[in-house]
């Protein structure tokens, strides 16, 4: 294993890592505030991908990419993802606020099934693999004989900007203080005059919106969407959130990138059949050495 051979694998892992990080942040924030592992989160990502597909298909002529369209579709999709997450919270999780966490988790699995089979039964979407309406140009640059496209660079940049923005909101604004207060002690936060239901809604909106961003960028990158794609990606993103220290934004980002890179290096160095073993072996090792995850210290103190 030489360094020059590993570097392209690491870079390749950044792209998968960027998508995982975006989805992981939603998992992590919801867990932080409700102690709920929202198994429907991966399906928010999937539904958002279908929304962006339909919007882009409606405005695209041929397969020529129009970046203006991609940008507004991206923004609308983020809002749609956020609204979907918020609605699910309002309709399913809020009425169960006093129920045992395990019951809510089962409800989350139910939501996941409803969303998957809902998409399956919409005629325009269905069970087939749908080609994304636009294909990004392959223009880019070469490093050491390996070709990277500008789209790939933009995708990683978008993920970095969005996650930094969310981190800033959570850690540097009044709103973020309110979120952390609700996460720490919901009853006390209510007594301090914080509208906890609104804060929880907002957390779901942010998580859903980031999943929407991941959906648009990854569909653009991978070029096809399917109604089952949310489940496996969601599971990986959940793993990433645990690895980074579930409950905090920076941890989710680090966990996402790390898992993406580990899978990529695992594939590149040992073969694809070893990738998951390599990545999940690293998860076990992480949890063994640091049971709260890489950046999970704060969670431990709080709990």
């Amino acid at each position: 294993m030489t360094w020059t051979v590993v570097v392209p694998d690491i870079v390749a892992g950044l792209f998968l890592g960027a998508f995982l990080a975006l989805v992981a942040v939603g998992y992590s924030m919801v867990y932080g505030i409700l102690r709920l592992i929202n198994f429907a989160h991966g399906d928010f990502y999937m539904v958002a991908a279908f929304v962006s597909y339909s919007l882009l298909a409606a405005v695209t002529v041929g397969t020529k990419i129009n970046w203006g369209n991609v940008v507004w579709v991206g923004i609308v999709t983020m809002i749609a993802g956020g609204v979907l997450a918020m609605s699910v919270e309002r309709l399913v999780y809020r009425p169960m606020r006093r129920a045992a966490v395990l019951s809510v988790m089962i409800a989350a699995l139910g939501v996941s099934q409803v969303l998957e089979n809902g998409v399956l039964n919409i005629p325009a979407w269905g069970s087939n693999y749908l080609p994304f309406p636009v294909t990004p140009p392959s223009a880019g640059f070469n490093v050491d004989g390996v070709h990277y496209t500008w789209t790939q660079v933009v995708i990683v940049a978008i993920a970095a900007v969005l996650i930094t923005a969310v981190w800033w909101i959570v850690n540097r604004t009044m709103l973020g203080t309110a979120m952390r207060a609700v996460a720490q002690d919901r009853a006390a936060a209510t007594l301090m005059g914080i509208n906890t239901d609104r804060i929880i809604s907002l957390v779901f909106f942010i998580g859903g919106a980031l999943a929407g961003a991941a959906a648009v960028t990854s569909s653009l990158y991978y070029g096809q969407i399917n109604y089952l794609e949310g489940f496996s990606l969601g599971l990986q993103a959940f793993t990433a959130a645990v690895m980074g220290g579930i409950g905090n934004v920076a941890g989710a980002a680090v966990g996402g990138l790390l898992l993406g890179i580990l899978e990529s290096v695992g594939t590149g160095q040992f073969g694809a059949q070893w990738a998951l073993l390599f990545a999940f072996g690293a998860l076990v090792l992480t949890l063994w050495l640091r049971p709260t995850g890489l950046l999970g210290e704060r969670v431990a103190q709080r709990v």
Partner: protein, 390 residues
């Protein structure tokens, strides 16, 4: 705190386990047991109707329906109208076993269907115990005939012939120096990949270690790195079509232009749609399909299919069609619907099907079909100008 977090993780494990069960979708059978009467010939059809392979499963089932329509319109089998009972196997071993048990308990007298070898395999024992013909339309791994069941028949010619065609393509037509073979860890794909690697062992083609890519994988960048570092000059993908499209798209985006060859699991209009322009110039090994057969019966099939289902037949629809005809012809030949007699007749069957002459070897594998190489030209599957057998 430790205790608390452990309980939570156990809970998570429980939920994940629950997810595995919840994820099994179920589809109500088209006909119920109540529909059975003395004048119907009840035939089960277990196929993926949900999940990633739902499209292919539906196309096979539609091919079967068409054959059933034709046979029933001509008076049925020995005066009995065929009634198909459809059951979803979701291309999943557990679901497939449930489907098989359900079909047997409904009292079907034969099974015609199947797409995924990994789903077909565990169900074999159930149909064998029930003593009914198990005609696999399109599941075709050579592992299916190795268990030695007397009632298994594969309409799709399967792994060994396909591997032989691939060996011919890489040695004679493409004159490949270094070949990268990848499968998706499914029974059939692994079978074709291994047989091809074995077949090439005594040739000048250098075969890299076969890469087994999980079927949920959509990111091929690390795999593409391996293709680049190992200086592969051609790729053989033996998995299904959805990943094939993602693979070839990302391969071309990375600036690698070496020949990309699919096995028949990836031959599907969706592959061309999803891969877009990058599908052009790719090859595929597949047994002769109805759409590449000339002659009036193939044309009539295409026409009838299109007018009934408002879609072109899928790559395996004709196997479903021939599977039903194999059963009906065997029943007619034996003069009885009794499963044991039909099985016996299937062993001696020979008729001209859509996919060539249909007859079965002693182990149940298909005889009388042959493979060809397709090339995607201008967004359509065409017979490749250069065939290995010429």
């Amino acid at each position: 705190m430790r205790i608390k977090s452990t309980t939570c993780l156990t809970g998570v494990a429980g939920v994940l386990l629950a997810a595995a069960f919840v994820a099994i979708p179920s589809v109500a059978p088209v006909a119920s047991a109540a529909a059975t009467s003395s004048s119907t010939y009840l035939v089960g059809a277990s196929e993926p109707m949900t999940g990633a392979e739902a499209q292919a499963g539906t196309e096979i089932y539609d091919g079967e329906l068409l054959a059933v329509d034709n046979i029933n319109a001509a008076g049925g089998v020995l005066g009995h109208k065929i009634s198909l009972v459809e059951e979803d196997d979701a291309c999943d071993p557990q679901t497939s076993v449930n489907a098989a048990n359900k079909l047997v308990s409904l009292g079907v007298q034969a099974m015609v269907g199947g797409y995924c070898s990994s789903a077909a395999q565990p169900a074999e024992a159930i149909y064998a115990r029930a003593g009914i013909p198990n005609i696999q339309a399109s599941a075709n791994s050579s592992t299916l005939t190795q268990a030695g069941y007397h009632n298994v028949f594969l309409v799709d010619p399967g792994g060994p012939l396909q591997a032989q065609e691939a060996v011919g393509l890489f040695t004679k037509v493409l004159k490949t120096k270094t070949l990268f073979i990848a499968d998706d860890q499914s029974t059939y794909a692994v079978n074709v990949a291994q047989l091809t690697a074995k077949g090439l062992a005594r040739t000048s083609v250098k075969v890299l270690p076969v890469e087994a890519i999980p079927s949920t994988n959509v990111d091929f960048s690390a795999v593409i790195q391996t293709v680049r570092t190992d200086k592969a000059t051609a790729i053989y993908w033996t998995g299904y079509f959805a990943q094939a499209a993602a693979f070839v798209r990302q391969l071309r985006a990375a600036g690698i232009t070496i020949p990309f060859v699919c096995a028949d699991g990836a031959v599907d209009p969706t592959f061309i749609k999803d891969a877009g322009a990058t599908a052009n110039g790719t090859y595929a090994t597949i047994s002769v399909l109805s759409s590449f057969l000339t002659g009036s019966s193939a044309k009539a099939f295409d026409h009838a299919y299109a007018s009934k289902f408002h879609a072109q037949p899928g790559p395996y629809s004709a196997y479903g069609y021939d599977g039903i005809y194999a059963l009906a012809d065997a029943a007619k030949a034996s003069g009885s619907l009794a499963p044991a007699k039909v099985i016996k007749a299937l062993h001696g069957l020979k008729f001209a099907g859509l996919t060539g002459e249909v007859s079965f070897a002693a182990d149940g594998s298909r005889l009388g079909a042959h493979f060809v190489v397709l090339e995607v030209i201008g967004g359509k599957y065409k017979l490749a100008p250069q065939q290995p057998t010429m």
